[in-house]
């Protein structure tokens, strides 16, 4: 996993609530057996017209947002399916930070496993960032994960919360599995006790 330390980039506004993971990446792209190459299909239904051409009204098709690295959205972003293809598609497009007033739990967790930082902010802060983002290329934000701050185009700063362990893993690009395997002795011990307590669970 890539490290996430600091990010400076254009923020694209997607002022919608309940953006579900079917919207982020529809089912026809879930047939891949790889993790990459999903960027062109990100937000497929909104991004392309029926004839396959780009929908000029969709935010990521507008010239000033084509290289956006940050997405600002409404409540309950990433609801629905657990598909990790949603963060994979964002990552493949180049978006590594999503800011919203709230996220669905599974999507939120999936982001951290892929070097993407989801930031939850009070609604009034998100609304201000949405306004700023409407200004396109001038709306460059700088996210500093170590300091837990977002610096806006006018120099204003917003701080955000993030769980300590998730932050540590992102900052260092750590692989959860390798970390957990260091606990192998504890897992084996637990298994022994669990087998005594609930012997019928053994496969």
């Amino acid at each position: 996993m890539e490290k996430f330390t600091q990010l400076t980039g254009v923020a694209a506004p997607l002022d919608m609530i309940n953006v579900d993971t079917d919207m982020v990446i529809p089912k026809q792209f879930l047939k891949t057996i790889g993790r990459t190459g999903l960027g062109p299909s990100l937000f497929f239904e909104m991004r392309y017209l029926d004839d396959g051409s780009e929908n000029p009204d969709f935010v990521l098709n507008k010239p000033q947002y084509r290289d956006a690295k940050i997405l600002i959205a409404g409540d309950n972003f990433g609801c629905g399916s657990s598909r990790e293809h949603a963060p994979w598609a964002l990552l493949d497009f180049g978006i590594t930070c999503v800011i919203a007033p709230s996220f669905a739990d599974i999507f939120y967790n999936n982001c951290f496993k892929n070097g993407i930082l989801p930031i939850t902010l009070p609604r009034q802060d998100v609304e201000k960032l949405l306004d700023d983002a409407e200004r396109g290329a001038n709306a460059t934000l700088t996210i500093d994960l170590e300091a837990q701050t977002i610096r806006g185009p006018n120099g204003g700063e917003i701080s955000f919360d993030v769980e300590e362990f998730k932050k540590h893993c992102l900052l260092n690009g750590l692989d959860d599995i390798a970390l957990t395997m260091e606990n192998e002795a504890k897992i084996a011990d637990f298994e022994k006790g669990h087998k005594t307590a609930q012997p019928w669970l053994a496969g």
Binding site: N18, D105, N109, N114, T180, H194
Partner: protein, 468 residues
């Protein structure tokens, strides 16, 4: 005296392997279900790192999302679907995981076969790379959906890194009125608390209306818990739970069964256990439900009409309603029962069980699918399909003009060939009415199985109480 604990607290605490200083927990996973869509990258990760599946004996695999529901003897036409299913077969063979392949009678939707096989048990932690894993909570199993990286984590370590969830209790007391079933109950709950109402929580369902539900009904309720934002739903195990599980192929046997039941009886929440959030509904107030928009919270009683954006106070919700009505091609004020349908789908992990097929057949019996309506019944597993055929339900449905299909996820998410065409409208027993969910441009109304059958035979969304 020890602090009273909830069902969730008991399961969580008995699965803690390690707790870090910041509260992140390493929890042990008792049961892991996998399917073809969210597992290939996880196996690829194992392979790249030279890792093994730590407990293949606690892992069960099935192909469900991509499988055709028509004749399977010639394999799968769609190349991508075929490759994904072949990858599952190859991965399971290589890593020693038990697989129910497409031609196995036990094959079916992952959340239907788990309980059916007795793989799902009370007091366990159960995960799957699928958000509807919440279904298994009906058995008092802490069951939730995970992403593919977490699937790989469970395969490699049989554990997961998680923060504890908060406790919410939804109590539904009283008797559900005639014609009102589990699907209506959960749609009413989602309408009440919203699609983000349960975010960060595990929802325990309680009250006499929940106790009165069959295991099938409880599965329907827990299944759609994710549509209320909660990763897991829970119902305390009781005699119905034990009756359902007794004698299933993977359920404990003999002395182990007795021992397990004794343990399961200690699982229900202690009196006085604390919940961070409580919601109460009266069963008597619930009518058959139907969705009008593109989020499962966009729900009204079938006796209601299409709302107008101005009916919503929140500007974001107003904007979202406006877009939903445009997509659904509906005008505010239209009575729900005047909305014609083109497709009807009975199936999915929400409503693909035997009881659901019985409910649909009861309405279909002696009636005909309306002209211009395509109606599909897709059993949740090969065993359910067999049972429905033995009970004569398949004959009734076929006689009425329904298509009787092979088991799979099918038109719930339209990853296989079963799609609602653009601009067409469906009454569906599935769980999501998202834009394009049942096919690009498809318009979905979520309903119960009996309501779906009622829509099929009348050609419109219909109040099932007027047909039965």
């Amino acid at each position: 005296m020890t602090k009273p604990r909830t069902l969730f607290d008991k399961i969580w605490e008995s699965h803690l392997v390690n707790v870090q200083d910041d509260g992140t927990c390493l929890i042990y996973i008792d049961r892991h279900l996998i399917h073809e869509v969210t597992s290939p990258q996880a196996f690829e990760g194992l392979r790249a790192a030279g890792r093994k599946v730590r407990r293949a004996d606690l892992t069960l695999a099935v192909a469900d999302h991509n499988v055709p529901t028509t004749d399977r003897s010639q394999g799968i036409d769609d190349e991508d679907s075929r490759i994904q299913i072949e990858a599952l077969t190859k991965n399971c063979a290589e890593f020693g995981v038990e697989l129910f392949d497409m031609n196995d009678i036990r094959q079916g939707i992952v959340h239907i076969i788990g309980p059916e096989q007795g793989f799902t048990l009370p007091g366990t932690t159960l995960v799957c790379g699928d958000s509807h894993t919440a279904t298994h909570g009906a058995f008092g199993s802490l069951a939730f959906g995970i992403g593919t990286t977490e699937v790989e984590h469970v395969l490699a370590t049989q554990t997961l890194l998680q923060m504890p969830l908060k406790n919410m209790r939804i109590t539904v007391d009283g008797d559900l009125p005639t014609g009102v079933v589990a699907k209506d109950l959960i749609l009413a709950v989602i309408g009440e608390i919203g699609t983000a109402g349960g975010t960060g929580y595990v929802i325990e369902y309680a009250g006499s209306a929940i106790e009165d539900l069959s295991m099938e009904g409880r599965m329907t309720v827990c299944n759609m818990t994710i549509e209320a934002g909660a990763r897991a739903g829970l119902v305390a195990p009781d005699e119905k739970t034990y009756q359902y599980l007794m004698g299933r192929p993977k359920s404990p046997k003999g002395g182990a069964w007795e021992q397990a039941v004794e343990f399961w009886k200690t699982l229900p929440s202690d009196p006085g256990a604390a919940y961070e959030k409580e919601v109460t509904l009266k069963a008597a107030d619930i009518a058959p439900q139907v969705t009008w928009g593109t989020s499962p919270e966009d729900v009204v009683p079938i006796t209601g009409s299409v709302p107008a954006p101005v009916d919503f106070d929140d500007p974001a919700k107003r904007e979202s309603a406006k877009m939903a009505l445009e997509y659904m091609d509906l005008k505010p004020g239209t009575p729900m029962t005047e909305i014609p349908v083109d497709y009807v789908f009975v199936g999915a992990c929400t409503n693909g069980r035997i009881e659901d097929i019985r409910a649909a057949a009861k309405i279909a019996k002696g009636r005909k699918v309306a002209d211009g309506v395509t109606a599909l019944v897709v059993p949740g597993s090969g065993l359910i399909k067999d049972q429905a055929e033995e009970e004569g339900l398949a004959d009734i449905l076929i006689e009425a003009g329904f298509e009787w299909r092979e088991p799979g996820c099918s038109m719930c998410l339209a990853m296989n060939a079963d799609k609602v065409p653009p601009g067409k409208r469906s009454a569906s027993t599935s769980n999501r009415n998202f834009k394009g969910r049942q096919g690009a441009g498809a318009r979905t109304h979520l309903v119960s199985p009996a309501m779906a059958a009622a829509a099929a035979v009348t050609g419109k969304l219909a109040d099932v109480r007027e047909l039965s």
